[in-house]
C-alpha cells in the first residue's frame, strides 16, 4: 500500500491538476482492467500512459493505430524459416505489460477487434497455436472524440472490454501555467523512479479481489443495474459484466482508500467511469455521462 500511494504522489507531481483521473487510472490498473482515454490530442494522454508504466515498473510499448495497420503488425506473425523448414512465431507489440494503443479509432475494425479479443482473452491465437500474453497485461487506449473524419468508432459490444473510460480534459489555468514554466516533461518522465514492480502489482491486484463486498452492497449495485434497464433512461441496460466491472473497480477504489470493505461511495466514485461508455442515453440533450450520474442520484442506498 505504501508503494501505491507513492506511485500516486509521483504521478500527481508529474501530471498537474488531474488527481481524480490519476486515481481512476490507478484503480483501473489495480482492478486488472483496461483503460480507455477519450480526449483531444495533446492533453497528456501519452504522458499519463508513459508515467503509469514508469511508476508501476512495467514494460511499455506504444502502437500508433492507423488505417493501414494489420492485425499481424500488432499480434505478431509466423515466419517460415527456410533453413529449419518450419514456421516460427514472431510476437507483436501486444506482447508487453503495458500497451498504449494510440488513436485506436483510426484503425480498421479488423485490427480493433483483434486487439480487443487479445485484451479479453489475455492470449493470442495464431495459426491454431495459443500464446499467452504476459502478466500483468494492461492496455491504455486513446481515442479522439467522435465526429472526426476517417475514424472507425469502436462498436459498443467492444467498448465494454475496457473497464473504464476517462477523459483528462484541459488542465486548469494554474496547472497549465506551471506546465508552461516547467518546460518539457520528458526529462522528468525518464527520471521517474519505479514505485513498484510487476510482481508487486500482481499481488496488489490479487489483494484487491479480497476486499469485502457485503450483501447490502451487492444489493445496491444490483439496484443500479436494474434501474439502468428501465427503458426511459438508456437504450440498453447495463449487462451483468458491467455489474462485475463496477464491483471490481469499487474494490480497487476502496483499497486505494485504505479500506478492507466497499462502501456505496466507492461505487459512486467509479460508477460513471465504468458505466458511461457502456450506456447510451435516450434523453435528448443528455450524454451518457450525465445520464449515469442521474442514475446515481436516483437509486436509493436502501
Amino acid at each position: 500500500m505504501q508503494s501505491i500511494s507513492l506511485a500516486y504522489r509521483q504521478l500527481n507531481a508529474l501530471i498537474l491538476g488531474k488527481p481524480l483521473q490519476i486515481r481512476l487510472a490507478l484503480t483501473c490498473v489495480l482492478a486488472g482492467g483496461h483503460l480507455l482515454i477519450e480526449d483531444v490530442p495533446g492533453v497528456g494522454k501519452t504522458t499519463l500512459a508513459h508515467a503509469l508504466a514508469g511508476v508501476l515498473g512495467l514494460d511499455y510499448r506504444r502502437v500508433q493505430f492507423t488505417s493501414d495497420l494489420l492485425p499481424a503488425d500488432m499480434l505478431g506473425v509466423s515466419l517460415f524459416r527456410p533453413d529449419e523448414g518450419r514456421f516460427e512465431f514472431q510476437p507483436g507489440p501486444v506482447f508487453s505489460q503495458l500497451l498504449l494503443a494510440d488513436e485506436i479509432n483510426r484503425a480498421s475494425p479488423k485490427v480493433q477487434s483483434a486487439l480487443l479479443e487479445a485484451m479479453e482473452e489475455r492470449q493470442v491465437s495464431i495459426d491454431g497455436r495459443t500464446h499467452a500474453l504476459p502478466k500483468p497485461f494492461f492496455v491504455i487506449a486513446t481515442q479522439n472524440p467522435d465526429g472526426q473524419l476517417g475514424t472507425f468508432p469502436l462498436p459498443e459490444s467492444q467498448l465494454d472490454r475496457f473497464l473504464m473510460r476517462i477523459s483528462l480534459g484541459y488542465p486548469s489555468p494554474e496547472s497549465e501555467r506551471a506546465l508552461l514554466l516547467a518546460g518539457d516533461r520528458r526529462q522528468a518522465l525518464s527520471a521517474l523512479p519505479a514505485a513498484l514492480n510487476a510482481g508487486e502489482l500482481l499481488a496488489l491486484q490479487q489483494k484487491a479481489t479480497q476486499i469485502t463486498v457485503s450483501s447490502a452492497l451487492a444489493e445496491y449495485v444490483l439496484a443500479l443495474l436494474l434501474a439502468s434497464r428501465k427503458r426511459e433512461l438508456f437504450m440498453h441496460g447495463l449487462s451483468p459484466r458491467a455489474g462485475l466491472a463496477v464491483l471490481a473497480a469499487a474494490r480497487a477504489w476502496a483499497m486505494l482508500n485504505g479500506r478492507d470493505h466497499v462502501l456505496p461511495e466507492d461505487v459512486k466514485a467509479v460508477f460513471v467511469a465504468v458505466c458511461a461508455h457502456r450506456l447510451q442515453s435516450r434523453l435528448p440533450g443528455m450524454n451518457s455521462i450525465d445520464a449515469a450520474q442521474r442514475l446515481l442520484d436516483h437509486v436509493p442506498l436502501a
Binding site: 469485502t212 457485503s214 452492497l217 462502501l263 461511495e265 442520484d297 442506498l301
Partner: protein, 661 residues
C-alpha cells in the same frame, strides 16, 4: 433443523392415546387400558431402540384379548364390539411399525379412531376433544413429514385452520341421506337416560338426583306457563300390586282437532324412550318423522331407530281430552290385583258413598290431601303391599307413590284410571329461548276417565303444590344444582355461566348434531335453492367456494414481498427525518454526503447523526455484515428517536434556491 424421526413416532403414539381417551367412558375399561399399554410398550421399544417382536408372537398374543372381548361383549361387530376390536387391532399394528409407511398407516388408523368416540357422544365437550385429537394427529403427521419440531405445532394448526372453511362448506352442502345404509345398531341401556318401561316405587326417584338433560323444547310464538308443562311420554295401565306396566288394550281415543285457540307450536329435540317421545299434553298435530298413537302418545315413525330426533308438534295445553271407553276397556282400567286390601276398602267406601262420579273424585282428592303425606325423595323402603304400606304406614313418598296410590284408590272407587309417566316443568334458558328438561324433571301422574274425558289428576300437586310451579330442586335438596366439589348452592354468576353453557350446548345440538337431511332441506329452502339435488349442491359449493375458499387460496398463493429489514427501514426513516428538518437529503446519498448536507444542524445533532451513519455504514458494509445483526434493533430505535427540529428559514430557502438553479 429437521426433526428426529423418533420424536415423530412418539407423537403418533401420543396422538393415538389421546384420541381414544374418551372411550374409557364407553367401553369395558380394560379395552382402552390394554390399548394404552400397547402404545406405551411400543413407545418403550422405540425409546430403548429394541427389536420389535416377531409377527408370529403378535398373532398369538392377539388371540387372548380378542377372546376376552368376545366373552365380555358377546360380539365383535356393532358399535361396542367393532370399536373395541378395532382398538385392539390398532394396538397390535403399532408393534409392526418399522418404516415411515407403517407409521403413516398407523396414523391413518388414528384418524379413523378419532371418529369412534363420536358414536357414543356428540356433545360440545366431545367436539372439543375431537378438535384436540385432530390437532395432535395433524401435528404427528407434520412431524412424520420431517418438518422442524419447533415449527411443527404452528404448521399443524395452520393446516387445520386453512382446511376449516372448506370443511364447513362441505358440511353444509354435502347431501345427507335420510336413513341409515344398513340396520342401525341397538343402543345399550345406558345411552337412554331415564324412563323405564314400568313404574315401581323408586323407579323415578332414582332419576331425580341426575341433572342430566333429557330433552329440549323450543316454542314458537306463544310461550307456555310452567304449570302447563306436563310432558307425556308413556302410559301404564296394568297393575300387579306393586308395579305398573303398559297393557295391551287398544285405546280408541279420538285425536284432538287442530286449529283450536291457544295452540302451542314447538319443536323438541329428544332421544326416544323405548320408542316414545315426549309431547306436551295434549297434542293436536305431529310433524314429519313422528306420529300420534293411542293414548295421546307420540312415537317415532321408524320406531326401532333410537337416535336423537328433532320434531315439530302442536299442542293445546289442557288437563283433559275426550275419549270414548268401551265396556271392555272400562273393565281393563278398573282392574286391580288382590293385594293392598286397605286401600281397596277405602276406595270401595268412596264408591258406595258418592254415587256421582265427579263428586267421588273430589272426595278422593280431599281425602288424600288430609292423610298428612310427605313429599320426600328418600322414603323408607316399603314392605309387602306397597300401596297400603305407603298410605297407612310410612306416609312418605314421591310422585310415583302418590300416582300409584291414587290410581289404586280411583280404580277401587270404580273410576277407570291409569298412570302417565313423563316429565313436568323444565328450565327456561333466557339466552337461548328454549326449555331444557332434565332427568330430575321426571314425573308420574294419574289420569281418570270421567264423563267421556280422560282427566289429569296430579296427586303430587295435591300434597306438594309447589312441585308443579317451581323446580324440583326447590323441594328436594338432592335435585338441587350444586357446585361440583364444593357442594354448595351455586352463586348467581355460576348459574348464569351454566345457562350460557347450556345455551351453547343447545345451539350445538340444534345446528351441528341435528343437522340431518331434513334440516339441510329446510336450510336449502330458506336460502331459496329448492330441493337438495345435484344442482343446488353444486350452487352451494360454488358460491361457498368463491366466498370462503377462494380468498383463502389467493391469500395462500399470493407471494408476499419480503419484509423490509431494520437497516432499510431505518435508512428511509432517517432520510425522511432529515428532509422534515429541511435538509435536502436523498435516499440515494451516501452517509458522507448526508453528513455534509446536515451541516446546518445543531452540533449535538450532527454528532448523533454522524454516529448513526457510522454504525449503519459499518454494520451494513464491513466484513460479516448482515441485516440479521441483533444490533440493528437498537439502532432502529435510536433512529426513531432522532428528531432534528426544523432548520431556520434561511437554511431552507438556501437549499430551495439550490434546486431552482
Amino acid at each position: 433443523m429437521r426433526s428426529e424421526p423418533r420424536l415423530a413416532h412418539f407423537a403418533v403414539l401420543a396422538a393415538l392415546a389421546l384420541t381414544v381417551l374418551p372411550l374409557f367412558l364407553q367401553l369395558p375399561p380394560w379395552v382402552p387400558l390394554l390399548f394404552a399399554l400397547q402404545l406405551g410398550g411400543r413407545a418403550w421399544l422405540a425409546w430403548q431402540d429394541r427389536q420389535l417382536p416377531h409377527r408370529v408372537w403378535l398373532l398369538l398374543a392377539m388371540i387372548v384379548p380378542v377372546l376376552l372381548l368376545w366373552l365380555s361383549l358377546r360380539t365383535l361387530v356393532g358399535r361396542e364390539g367393532g370399536v373395541a376390536l378395532l382398538l385392539l387391532l390398532t394396538g397390535f399394528k403399532a408393534f409392526e411399525t418399522v418404516t415411515l409407511r407403517d407409521w403413516r398407516v398407523l396414523l391413518g388408523l388414528g384418524f379413523f379412531l378419532a371418529a369412534t368416540p363420536l358414536l357414543f357422544d356428540q356433545s360440545l365437550p366431545s367436539a372439543l376433544w375431537l378438535l384436540l385429537s385432530l390437532f395432535v394427529l395433524t401435528w404427528a403427521m407434520v412431524l412424520l413429514a420431517g418438518v422442524d419440531s419447533a415449527a411443527s405445532p404452528r404448521a399443524a394448526a395452520l393446516a387445520l385452520l386453512y382446511a376449516m372453511p372448506l370443511m364447513l362448506l362441505l358440511f353444509v352442502a354435502m347431501p345427507r341421506l335420510p336413513g341409515p345404509l344398513w340396520s342401525m345398531p341397538t343402543m345399550d341401556q345406558r345411552a337412554t337416560s331415564g324412563l323405564s318401561d314400568s313404574l315401581a316405587p323408586g323407579s323415578i326417584g332414582q332419576m331425580i338426583p341426575s341433572r342430566e338433560p333429557a330433552f329440549t323444547a323450543q316454542f314458537r310464538g306463544r310461550q307456555p306457563v310452567r304449570e302447563q308443562l306436563y310432558w307425556r311420554v308413556m302410559v301404564f295401565d296394568r297393575f300387579d300390586g306393586a308395579r305398573w306396566t303398559a297393557g295391551s288394550v287398544p285405546d280408541s281415543g279420538a285425536a284432538l282437532a287442530s286449529g283450536a285457540a291457544g295452540e302451542l307450536s314447538y319443536s323438541i329435540t329428544a332421544t326416544p324412550f323405548k320408542g316414545a317421545l315426549p309431547v306436551l299434553e295434549h297434542a293436536v298435530w305431529a310433524g314429519e318423522g313422528v306420529q300420534q298413537v293411542a293414548a295421546q302418545l307420540l312415537r317415532r315413525i321408524d320406531a326401532r331407530n333410537e337416535a336423537r330426533l328433532r320434531y315439530d308438534v302442536r299442542s293445546v295445553a289442557q288437563a283433559a281430552y275426550p275419549a270414548a271407553l268401551s265396556a271392555e276397556q272400562r273393565d281393563h282400567y278398573l282392574q286391580l290385583p288382590a293385594a293392598n286390601l286397605r286401600t281397596r276398602q277405602q276406595g270401595e267406601f268412596f264408591g258406595r258413598q258418592f254415587r256421582d262420579e265427579a263428586g267421588r273424585l273430589v272426595a278422593l282428592r280431599a281425602w288424600l290431601q288430609q292423610q298428612g303425606l310427605r313429599y320426600t325423595l328418600s322414603p323408607p323402603l316399603l314392605q309387602g303391599d306397597v300401596v297400603d304400606d305407603f298410605l297407612f304406614s310410612s306416609r312418605q313418598g314421591f310422585c310415583e307413590h302418590f300416582a300409584s296410590a291414587f290410581a289404586t284408590l280411583a280404580r277401587a272407587a270404580g273410576l277407570p284410571a291409569r298412570i302417565v309417566v313423563g316429565f313436568q316443568g323444565g328450565e327456561f334458558n333466557t339466552g337461548g329461548q328454549f326449555w331444557l328438561v332434565r332427568s330430575s324433571d321426571a314425573h308420574a301422574w294419574t289420569e281418570v276417565w270421567l264423563q267421556g274425558h280422560w282427566q289429569r289428576v296430579d296427586p303430587t300437586a295435591l300434597v306438594a303444590p309447589s312441585r308443579v310451579v317451581s323446580e324440583v330442586g326447590e323441594l328436594v335438596p338432592e335435585a338441587q344444582a350444586v357446585v361440583p366439589v364444593l357442594g354448595r348452592r351455586p352463586p348467581a354468576w355460576w348459574r348464569s355461566a351454566h345457562a350460557q353453557w347450556q345455551r351453547a350446548g343447545f345451539v350445538w345440538q340444534q345446528w351441528v348434531v341435528d343437522y340431518d337431511a331434513r334440516r339441510q332441506q329446510s336450510l336449502f329452502q330458506r336460502l331459496g335453492l329448492g330441493r337438495v339435488g345435484v344442482g343446488s349442491v353444486m350452487t352451494v359449493l360454488l358460491l361457498g367456494g368463491v366466498v370462503l375458499v377462494l380468498p383463502l387460496l389467493l391469500w395462500l398463493l399470493w407471494r408476499r414481498p419480503p419484509p423490509r429489514s431494520y437497516p432499510v427501514r431505518g435508512w428511509q426513516l432517517l432520510v425522511l427525518r432529515l428532509q422534515q428538518a429541511g435538509v435536502a437529503a436523498q435516499a440515494s446519498d451516501t452517509p458522507a454526503q448526508l453528513r455534509d448536507k446536515a451541516k446546518g444542524l445543531a452540533p449535538s445533532l450532527q454528532q448523533q447523526l454522524a454516529r448513526l451513519l457510522a454504525d449503519w455504514q459499518q454494520w451494513r458494509y464491513a466484513e460479516g455484515a448482515t441485516d440479521a445483526d441483533p444490533r440493528w434493533r437498537g439502532w432502529w430505535w435510536q433512529v426513531r428517536h432522532f428528531r432534528p427540529p426544523r432548520l431556520a428559514a434561511s437554511g431552507f430557502s438556501a437549499s430551495g434556491k439550490a434546486t431552482m438553479d
